[in-house]
Structure formats: C-alpha cells, structure tokens
C-alpha cells in the first residue's frame, strides 16, 4: 500500500529506512520510527479493530499506551516458525520494522464485515449488567448454552497456541534516583539529579524515543531552540554522564513497598536482527533511593453520540501523528474541544495542509489567547457549541454540531463534513504510580483532576502528572524534583479546559450511544443505569458496567466516568471516590515476570553425591521436596514391582546399599547441648552415653509430631542430629528460633551439615563384611560397636562418622562421609559388595522394608495432626522431664480423647491385594452416606519378604481393635481387611545384633 497520507517532510522518522509490515495480509509501508498505527494512517485507513461487546468498527484513538481500540495480534518473527505471536498489542506503540505480521482481532469473517456487529443492533438489550438479569432458565442452560456463547463472544485476541520459544531476563538494580518518564519534566529532573556526577540515576521511558510530548511538538521553542533540538541536547548531555543510565522502551509498571519499583524493558522485538540468545524482554527490579515520577498526563475523550467512529481520535494524538510521524490523519478535520491545548493541533493540522474547523464547547470569553491565534491563522472556530453526534460508520463522515443556549439548550444543528475528528475533553495527570506508592490523591477542582497528595514513600511527582501543564513550568518543576533548579524560556503553552462529562444533546438520551470506555463498550447510558440501580460508589459502577477494566485500565475513561457519576448523584467528585491504581501500569508479559525461572531453573534440583552413579546404573528417580532421589534400580526387563521385590529380598538375605544423603543433619554443640536437646525433643538425652545413638522424636509446640530421626552423641557437648529429608530446614530453623529467642542463655551452637555429609546405608546380614575391609581406627567388634551406636574413624582413608543403625530391621550401618569423597567410598563399597551380590536399592524399597518392621515415616503416617501416642510412640515421651516443646499441648482435652486415630496394621483378606494408600477404613460399607469413617490407610505395599501385601493405617481406637474385620475403600467399592499390629516381618533370629 502506498502512503498517500504521508507528509513529505519532517517528523522523527528515518526516511532512509523504508519498511513494510503485514496488516491483515496486506502490506503497509512506512519508515523506521513509525508505529503500526502511523503506518496504517499513512495508508489512509483508520479501521483497526472491533469493539469488545458490540463489535463496532474502531479506529485509532491515541498515539500512546493508553490506546483502547487498535489492538493487534502480532507475530514478531513469523520467519522463525510458530510461537512468537501474541494478542492485544496496541498498534500505537508497536514499533514497526520489516517482517512484522499483524492482524486485527475480535471479528468474523473479516474486519470489514463482522457478523458480531449484530450485537450493535441488539445493544438496547445488551446494557450494563444485562447478564445478571437473564440467562437463568432453565438452570442447566447457563453452562450448556448461554455461557459458551458469551465466552466465545467475549475475549479479544486469541491466546498463543504453543509454548513461547523466547527467553526473558531479570535484573536487580539500585538507583539513587529513578526518573520515570523522559518528557520535559523527566529530562530536566534527570539532569539536575545527576549533576553531582556521583548519584546513580536511571531514566526510563516507555517509548522508543525520549522527549515525551515534545516529540509531538513542531513549533515550541525552549531557550530559543526548537523543542526537539532541546531534547536531543538534553539526551546527549545525560548520555555522556557516567552516573546516568538511559532506558528507552522501558515501562515502569509497578511501585511496590519501600521504593521497590518494577519495570520491563523491551529488548528484542524492535530489532531487525533477531540475535540468538538475546532476551525478548527484561524485568528490572529497582530499589530506588528516591523516585521522580514524570509520567505525563492522558487526554480525555469527549463523550457524544458515536464518538467511537474510526477517524475520531484524541487531539494531542492527531498532533503526534502529524508532527512526529509526518502523517495526516485525514484531509478534513474537525477539532472538537473543551479546552485550549487542542488549538495547537488545529494550527499544526492547518499548517500540514489539512482543512480544519474548531468546535469549542467553551464560550469565546472563556477562551485564552488560543482563540485569537486560531482565528488569525484562518481557522473557523465555533465557540459555545456542542457536538450532537458523529456521522458515518466505518469512518467518520461528519459531525453534527449545535450552539448551546445560555440555559443549556441546544440550538440549531449544523453538519460539518469531515474525515477526521480531533477531540479533547481536557487532561488527566497520570497518577498511577503515585497511587501505587500508596500516596493519597487530592482533588484539585481548578484543573478538574486528582493530584498527588501526601507521599508515603520517598518519591515526588513532576510536570504534567503533577498538574503542571505550562512548558517552562514543567521544566522548572522537573529540575526542582531532581534537587536543582532550572529557569528556561519556552513558548507559551495553551492550557486550561472546561470539564465536561457528556456533551449536551437534544437527542433522546435513551437512544444515544456515547462511549465513556471505548474498549469495554461502556456508554454514558450504562453508567446512568448503574447509578439508577443503586450502584453509587465508583468501585460499584466500575464493576457493574466494567468501565475502566479493559486492557487500557481506563486511562482515557476514568475521569469521565467519575464525573458522570458525580453529576448524576449531584455530589462533589471526590465524594464518589477514585479507583485505587494497582500494578501494572500497562499489561506486562508473564514471561518477563517469570524471567529464567523455567523448568530446571523453576526450582533447583538438589542432587546427592551418588546421583551420577545412580543415573549411570539406570535408576528411576522420584522428586522428594527439591531433591531427586533414586526410586528403584530396574534391571533390564524389570518393572518397578519386580525391581522392588528383588531389592527387598536382597537386603534381608545379603546386603543392600542405599543413598541416604538427603537426610537432614544438624550438629548441636556446646556445654548446654544436652539440655537443649532435652527441651527440643520428647526424649531424655542427659543419660545418652558418648558414642551412643537414640531415636529422637520432635513435636511442634502444638503437640503434634513434627519430625524424627536418629541422634548420635559424639561427645559430651556434641550431638549429630538427623532429620527427615523434607524436615531438614524446618527443624534447623525451629531449633534456631528457640535457641535465639527463648533460651539465649543456653550455650549452644547449631550448624546444618546436611550438604557436608553424604550418607551411605549398608543394610543386611552381609553389611559388616562389605564394610569392614575399608574401616580403620574403629573397633568393629560386636561388643565394642553395638547396634545404636556411633564411632568416628576412617573409611577408605576418609574421615567418617559411622553409625550402626537400621531403618530396615537388618543389621546395618550408615556411613557419613564428607560429600566430596562419597562417590569414591560408594564405589569402593559397591565393588567389594559384589562378592555378596550387593544390591543398590531406592526409596521404594526403603519404604517397604521399614513398613515391614512397622517403622513410621513422618509425613506419611503422620499428617500434622498426629500425637506421639497416635503413632504408638508414647514410650519416647519422657514422663519425668518437666517441660519440652509440645509437652503442654499433649494434655489438652482433645489430645486425651480415647477414640483418637491410632497406628495399626491392616491386612487385606486377599494377600495379593495391595490396598490404596489414602484409602478410607470403615466398619460398615453399607451405611448410608455420609458414611462414618474409622480411619485411613497411610502406607501400603506388596512385601516379598512377607509374601503378601501389608499396610499401615490410622484407625480410631485401633490398638484395641486388633483382629477385627474392617472394610477399605477401593477405586470401585470396598474390600475386606483385618486390623493387625503394625509389625509385619519377624526375623527368625535377632539379626540386627548378628
């Protein structure tokens, strides 16, 4: 497509770099520096989308990130295959380059002919909240008929279909001063703030060029220089300062606690070259000493009938397209305004060769110098006029205007033919970030705007977002915010406007569709309806009508909506409230917020020193917390069941080797170590001899089992404590908390040694034979080294803490060695073990073996609601210690209840049947629902050593019910089982001490 509306010179585009992008399959031509919106306008078209609800044709309203209408699906790198398309991109800020593939949204079959436009005809029915009043009959139809239809009609673009191949980066930074926005205020602030040469200043702007509104300005001068030249000079000065970082294409979107500010930088999408490995976007999290908000302001649309027709845009945006992009929005323009600033648009349009008429709602005597200036330039100005309605459908073809009488009546109509309307309903300072910082907004009636009030964090607003609109004053305000001062002489700015919520009309108000929120299709009528129905707070109006809740977050619509509600209720505007702004300022890609935290970097995978060996052996792994642990070691052709059966047999008949490194390990050291242990664990520790081990049980202060593990006393003042894998960090912090905050008088230090020691378990009748050849400095004889003891010495020449303990019921050892040497020790033991057909086993076999012996696993038999007595461990609770953590809770009435669930065994009647873990135990499977539940199965396995299935369960009053028949749920029904003791495997001889 050629560029019939391109102005032949001027603008901040690079005419040496012509580009083209695809738009609905057609080609748009333009230059580097264009946005897709400016290219579309250059082609002569405004039609850029269909609205959310009524599917009305919509054009380009704005030139910035507040655009509500022109939302495109953009494939950023179509040449690289699927996955780089995303919906809802605002055409006005999509930086154009060769190869972009863009499409409009929310229409079928095409943008020009959209069946959904039927909704526009039905719009008298589809008013605000209509869906709350109907679609209720018959009941089933909501989910089957109405909701699917509504869902298909709603939504905007299509979600991406495949996983995103791009990567995203994340950066944390510190700034002494963060300046948000590189318009005149922001540039001036950054210059002042960085003057000392040492303060670290970040200057971020969402656009790809610095300058803000000055980019739209072809006539103003600052200290005699054209505005753009002043900008270039400022940017060059800042760029040369080493303490300044300039961040174009960087949107500050979130202002969080304690000056923690989030911003997203668009890194790659605008680049012609798609550099391999370059992140697409980068999330910046900045802790700023001070934040200077120079975020500018948003222009308000005028609310009149059919104000949404393509060709109708904001006045400042029309000026931006003319001056910055060198594009004429049309040939014949009506500037409709309630304020002064739009006159600049009219003058610039006229200068660009566009025929212009101004319609101003203000009376001539309320206007400033702008009126005379426009008239002097030969522009017809109709003051004291209202806009009754716009004509045309896919493009505005004219405006019907009429003079306003002194009493507000609408006079004789007149039609102004046009192909473009530039409208201005005044200005709304961008107080989003200030509001996010928790500052309270204050209403300033003089400029009809909410302004920053008292600060809560260390920030300051400057420029237009501070309610200052005159260019010289803006620059001075910026400098002041930056800690300096700067007086410039700039051209006078046309400021001031008359707030007008809905333009007066003599049309039947019931039939007028005048849009307040363009994207969500909310009209003035909708807001009136909401107020009529009792929705009086702006929060209610917003939620009932959806005004301000679209992807533009109401940047252009909020003040009109507020003013309208205030007018309807005849209350001052601040009494209606203002919405609290929340992050993000503009929508932010999930990927940017996620950064590199995907897959293996989602959470680190913790691996033991033996992991590589297990992987080489073909082990299957399972996740246990962040760890991955070998689950079982299948030989070729074996399934899990076969492998586990083999491993279980091997441990009981010869020897198995198991990687227990994930167990938590804590060293408790100090003169008061035993006393500390007494307080933290239910058992007594004072009498444990040096070199002895004891099974320890830990409770939370609520009396419920928190953790368990073997504890070894290495010296009078030194304990080596083990914890469950999942409990390691929790137990350590629990100890640390009590030690520091409750008993600082105890002379004890605790240290986590989980990562420092790997643990190799050798279990089975031949365990000692495998181990002995490698051990030095330890007397391995029975008498010298009995079960439940610990010795320090060497293994393979490596220092070891050798535990003689068993979690399998077999004679066994747990070899603690420094993790760096663990793989070598493991391999040595494994090689030696081959003589005895040593079998590596995984967590599943470990679970089965301990279940055969009736040993509990905290977290499996217990669930945070089990007491020591519930799991049959009351013997471990000291009766003589006056206190320990959790003791007092054990005497609460409910804990003393007789019918609490107790740990028992359950044996399915059919020995081949393995009960489901998590299954319920009931007494009477024929009882009506809700059926009384007696308990639940906590662990269940096939035990090759027992030659049958075994299971543990928590059953109400279970220990008194041994031998009774119960029923256990199965996926299909119930199966019969018998309550048993929870020790399933009986050794023929005492093998532990063998």
């Amino acid at each position: 497509m050629s560029q019939p509306f391109r102005i032949q010179s001027g603008g901040h585009i690079d005419r040496s770099k012509p580009i083209s992008v695809s738009f609905n399959g057609k080609t748009l031509n333009g230059y580097r520096g264009d946005t897709v919106a400016s290219m579309l306008l250059a082609s002569g078209s405004h039609l850029a989308g269909r609205s959310f609800k009524y599917h009305r044709p919509r054009g380009i309203l704005s030139h910035g990130s507040d655009e509500p209408n022109a939302l495109l699906s953009v494939d950023w790198r179509p040449e690289k295959g699927k996955g780089r398309r995303d919906p809802n991109n605002r055409a006005s800020v999509v930086e154009a380059r060769n190869g972009l593939k863009t499409e409009t949204q929310n229409h079928w079959p095409s943008l020009e002919r959209d069946v959904g436009a039927l909704n526009d005809i039905l719009s008298p029915v589809f008013v605000a909240g209509f869906y709350y009043k109907t679609f209720m009959w018959p009941r089933s139809a909501w989910e089957k008929v109405y909701e699917p239809v509504i869902r298909r009609a709603a939504g905007l673009g299509e979600a991406p279909e495949v996983a995103d191949p791009d990567r995203y980066a994340n950066r944390h930074a510190y700034a002494d001063i963060l300046v948000v926005g590189a318009g005149p205020a922001g540039l001036s602030a950054a210059l002042a703030a960085s003057e000392d040469g040492s303060s670290r200043v970040l200057l971020a702007d969402e656009g790809f060029l610095f300058g803000g509104a000055l980019l739209n300005d072809a006539t103003s001068t600052i200290d005699g220089k054209p505005a753009k030249a002043w900008v270039d000079e400022m940017v060059a000065t800042l760029d040369a300062r080493e303490n300044v970082v300039l961040l174009p294409r960087t949107t500050v979107f979130g202002y969080y606690n304690h000056n923690h500010v989030a911003m997203v930088e668009r890194v790659a999408d605008h680049r012609d070259d798609a550099l391999e490995g370059l992140a697409r976007e980068r999330l910046w999290q900045v802790r700023a000493g001070k934040v200077i908000i120079a975020a500018g302001s948003h222009e308000r649309p005028l609310v009149f009938e059919n104000n949404d027709r393509p060709g109708i845009m904001l006045a400042e945006s029309a000026r931006a397209f003319i001056n910055r992009y060198a594009v004429k929005p049309g040939n014949r323009m009506v500037v409709a305004t309630s304020g002064a600033s739009a006159y600049r648009t009219a003058l610039d349009a006229k200068a660009a060769g566009i025929a212009v008429t101004i319609v101003d709602i203000r009376l001539g005597e309320d206007c400033g110098t702008e009126l005379a200036e426009a008239r002097e330039a030969g522009i017809e100005v109709l003051t004291g006029h209202t806009v009754v309605k716009a004509l045309g459908k896919a493009r505005v073809t004219g405006l019907i205007v009429a003079p306003l009488g002194k009493t507000g009546g609408v006079g004789t109509r007149r039609t102004l033919e046009c192909d473009t309307v530039a409208m201005s309903g005044g200005w709304t300072p961008s107080v989003h970030l200030f509001s996010q910082s928790r500052g309270k907004l204050v209403f300033d009636a003089d400029i009809d705007a909410f302004l920053p009030g008292q600060s809560v964090q260390n920030e300051v607003s400057a420029g237009a977002c501070h309610g200052i609109y005159d260019l010289s004053a803006i620059i001075a305000d910026g400098a002041k915010a930056g800690g300096g001062s700067r007086e410039v002489t700039a051209s006078a700015t046309f400021t001031g406007f008359q707030p007008v919520r809905v333009l007066p009309t003599d049309e039947d108000p019931k039939k007028v569709k005048a849009f307040v929120d363009f994207q969500n299709d909310v009209t003035a009528k909708d807001i009136k309806l909401a107020v009529r129905e009792g929705f009086e707070s702006i929060e209610h109006v917003k939620r009932y009508t959806t005004t301000g809740m679209a992807t533009d977050q109401g940047k252009t619509s909020n003040m009109n909506a507020l003013g309208l509600v205030a007018g309807l209720l005849d209350r001052p505007l601040p009494a209606i409230g203002t919405t609290t702004f929340r992050p993000p300022y503009t929508p932010v890609t999930f990927g940017a917020l996620v950064g590199p935290s995907r897959e293996e970097r989602f959470e680190p995978v913790r691996k033991t020193a033996i992991d590589g060996w297990a992987e080489a052996q073909g082990a299957e792994f399972e996740p246990v917390g962040q760890w991955r642990r070998a689950h079982y070691f299948p030989r070729s052709g074996e399934d899990m069941h076969a492998a586990v059966n083999r491993e279980c047999k091997a441990v009981r008949t010869s020897v198995g080797i198991f990687d227990a490194s994930t167990l938590g390990k804590i060293e408790v050291v100090g003169p008061d170590a035993a006393e500390f242990m007494n307080r933290m664990y239910t058992n007594a520790w004072t009498k444990l001899k040096v070199g002895g081990c004891r099974y320890g049980l830990m409770l939370g202060e609520n009396g419920f089992v928190m953790d368990d593990g073997v504890v070894a006393r290495l010296a009078e003042d030194r304990f080596h404590v083990t914890t469950t894998t999942g409990g390691a960090a929790r137990v350590f912090q629990h100890m640390e908390d009590y030690l520091q905050t409750e008993w600082p008088d105890l002379d004890v230090f605790i240290t986590s040694i989980t990562e420092q020691y790997a643990v190799i378990a050798l279990q089975g009748p031949n365990a000692k034979k495998v181990l002995e050849p490698f051990v030095s400095d330890i007397d391995m004889s029975e008498d010298a080294f009995p079960h439940m003891s610990v010795r320090e010495g060497f293994i393979c020449g490596v220092p070891t803490r050798l535990f003689r303990v068993s979690f399998t019921g077999e004679a066994g050892f747990e070899v603690n060695v420094p993790a760096d040497y663990a793989a070598a020790v493991w391999k040595a033991l494994y090689e030696e073990g081959r003589k005895y057909d040593i079998t590596p086993y995984g967590t599943e076999t470990m679970h089965v073996l301990r279940c055969e012996m009736g040993f509990i696993i905290v977290g499996q038999e217990t669930d945070g609601t089990a007491t020591p007595d519930d799991v049959g461990l009351s013997g471990l609770v000291s009766k003589v210690k006056p206190d320990f953590v959790g003791k007092r809770s054990l005497s609460r009435p409910d804990i003393l209840r007789k019918d609490r669930k107790q740990l028992v065994g359950v044996l399915a009647k059919d020995p081949k049947e393995v009960l489901d873990e998590g299954a319920m135990v009931v007494d009477d499977p024929t009882a009506p629902v809700p059926m009384p539940i007696a308990g639940h199965v906590t662990s269940s396995y096939h035990s090759s050593n027992c030659g049958r299935s075994i299971a543990m369960a928590m059953v109400k009053g279970g220990r008194d019910r041994i031998g009774e028949t119960v029923w256990v749920t199965t996926p299909k029904g119930f199966t019969e089982a018998v309550i048993a003791t929870s020790v399933f495997y009986q050794h023929e001889k005492e093998s532990i001490d063998a």
Binding site: P584, G859, D863, G864, T969
Partner: protein, 417 residues
Amino acid sequence: MRRFSLASLLQESTKGHTGWERQWRAPEPKKHYDVVIVGGGGHGLATAYYLATVHGVTNVAVIEKGWIGGGNTGRNTTIIRSNYLFDESAALYNHAMNLWEGLSQELNYNIMFSQRGVLMLAHNHHDVVTFKRHVYANRLNGVDNEWLTTEECKAFCPPLDTSRNIRYPVMGGALQRKGGTARHDAVAWGYARGADARGVDIIQNCEVTGLQRNADGSVKAVETTRGTISCNKVGVVAAGHTGVVMGRFGLRMPVESVPLQALVSEPVKPVFPCVVMSNAVHAYISQSDKGELVIGAGTDQYNSYSQQGGIHVTNHTLDAICELFPQFTRMRMLRSWGGIVDVTPDRSPILSKTPIKNLFVNCGWGTGGFKATPGSGHVFAHMLATGEPHRINAPFSLDRFRTGTLIDEAAAAAVSH
C-alpha cells in the same frame, strides 16, 4: 422487588431501561434492630438473606464500613469446590455447594455459577496419596471428587503440560466436576437485593467503633460512625478486619491478617476450560467469562492491612503458571491486586459464640472463603436466629483452640518426609 427475567429485560429495552429500580435501598440506620451484622461482604449479606428467608428475622441491619462486596468478596479468584478432607470441612463446604447449585434462581440474580470442574494436580508421591485420601473420604461423605491419571488430566485441561520436561511433572489429579467459579460481585449484589427486598437495611459507609453491653455483659448496642444502634444480637463477619472489630469490642482473636494477591491476564478467546489448582507449585488458574485468565497468587509472609504485597509473590505464581502452561508465557498481566485475609492457626474458619453473650463471630476463612459464602451465611443465620450453632458449624468454634480439636486441612496436606 422487580423480578429479573428475559421478559422484563426486553420490556425495559424498549424504554431505555429507565424502569429498573434500585437493587437495594440506602436507608438511614434505625434506632434498634434485632440483629446487626457487621460486614457487608458476601458472607454477611448471605447471613442477612437467610435470616430473613429461613428464619423470618427481617429487622436486621448489615453495617458496612465501605461499599458492599468491596473486600475479599470482590477480590478473590472465585473458585468454588467442596472436596475437603475432614468430615467437618466437607460438610460445611458441601452445604455451600448444594446452595450454590440453585442460587441464581433462588436470588433471581444470575451469579454465573459455572461448574467447570476443579482439578487439583499432584506432582509427587505425597500429593498422590493426599489427593487419593481426599477422593476416598469425599466419596464416603457424598462429595464428588475423582482421581484422574496424567493422561486424563491432559484430556480434561488441554493447555496443561503433562510432559516429563517440567520441573515437577504431573502425576495425576483430583477432579471435582461440580466445582467451578461464580461471578463474585453478583453474589454480593444478589444477596443484597434479596435481603433488602425482605426488609433488611443495608447501611454502607458506616463503621463500627464500639460495643455497648448490658449489666449482665450481653450485647446492648453497637456504636457506629452513624450513631449508636441498639440491638439484641451482633454477628461480626468482617474477614480481614475481624481482629480490628473484635479489638474494638475488647476481644483478642486467634486470627492474623495477611495480604493475598491475585491477578488477571488480558482477555482472550476461550482457551482454558476448567479450574486448575496446584498446591505443590502454588498456582490457581481459571478463565473468566470475560476471557481473562484469573490467577491466584500466594500470601505475603507478614501481617498487613495494606491490600498490597510484593512483586516476588506474583512472580513466583507466574513461574508456576508458565511452568504448567507454557503457552501462556506470552500472555500479559493486566491487573493485580491484594486482599486482606484472616488466617486462623488451623486455617479453618471460626463460626462461633464468643465470650460476650449475644456476640457471634464468623471469620478466619483465610484464602478460601468465597466458595463457602452461601453455606457460611446459611449456618451463621441459624446461629444468630437461635443462639446456638447449626450442626454443621458446631465444630468450628473458638473453643477448639482450647481443647485442641483443630480441623487442620493444611497440615494434613503438608509435605514432610
């Protein structure tokens, strides 16, 4: 009350919708009410509604410090399910589920209850056992909940990545088909309209500042920013502000208020057919009728009344979402917000008498109160009307913290091995 129907809607369409009346009045507070409900959220309004409809108690005021439904009712991710583990919780939430099912019709207000199914994903052995325990327990309690294999999870929710490539592969899930979502605001408004029509006064912008008591210590009146209102009974249903209100009445509570964040994406065409929750990686997601992906984030670690949390909480949530649904990585966060949730030590609610006679409290719903709204209101109304707990809410007393009879769903699902 003017009935809502297609007919009335069409009729109004011809008249520019000028005939609709206020959905609830804006009355001045009366001198005396039989019952004053402190808190105009979903639970408080439902309580008022059922007081009027079930118990015939209509001299009731709902006192709201801001605007009705402006707290957690309007800030949650609207997930509704009842597949809780313990008998007591299952009974409470399923009571709510039964009421949800006919609620649009009963209220004559389309609350858009959509039983799209709630799928809870298992990512490790512990999850599998825990969810199967839920499934079995629910079956015996008459609560629908079924176990899905990994393949069945994928079929039920196509955007879900069930490959082994993700950090914590999906090992199956528990599906409650009756679970789903509803339009949160409509729930508040629908109850308000229904209660108002039966004579309940909904008094907005009225903050409770204190309590007056009779000589015997019982409730005499509440003091408010709009004057003293005498009453026979008071029910406090103030969610995150329970501690504040009860503090003004001189009572300390076993609750703490923490920020809970949530967010939505930009709206897109239908892409996500159900609700998915993953406790292991902390993600909750559904798609609203409007097309936004509605995503629940976590709570911050500290007490706060600020309705604002840190960005790291949302980031972590989106990590999990993109991990489970990699096609959403290019979607955009449109809005994020925070609520103030009141959390109890066992993370189950409190619907209870208090040490002050005729003062009752309904709080502690933590992150999961929305789903219980009708059931909570229904049993709390019973309590306010009769002075005694309903069979269903009896276990949720304050006294359980003394006796140790906790209902600890979260502990039961906690990982530790």
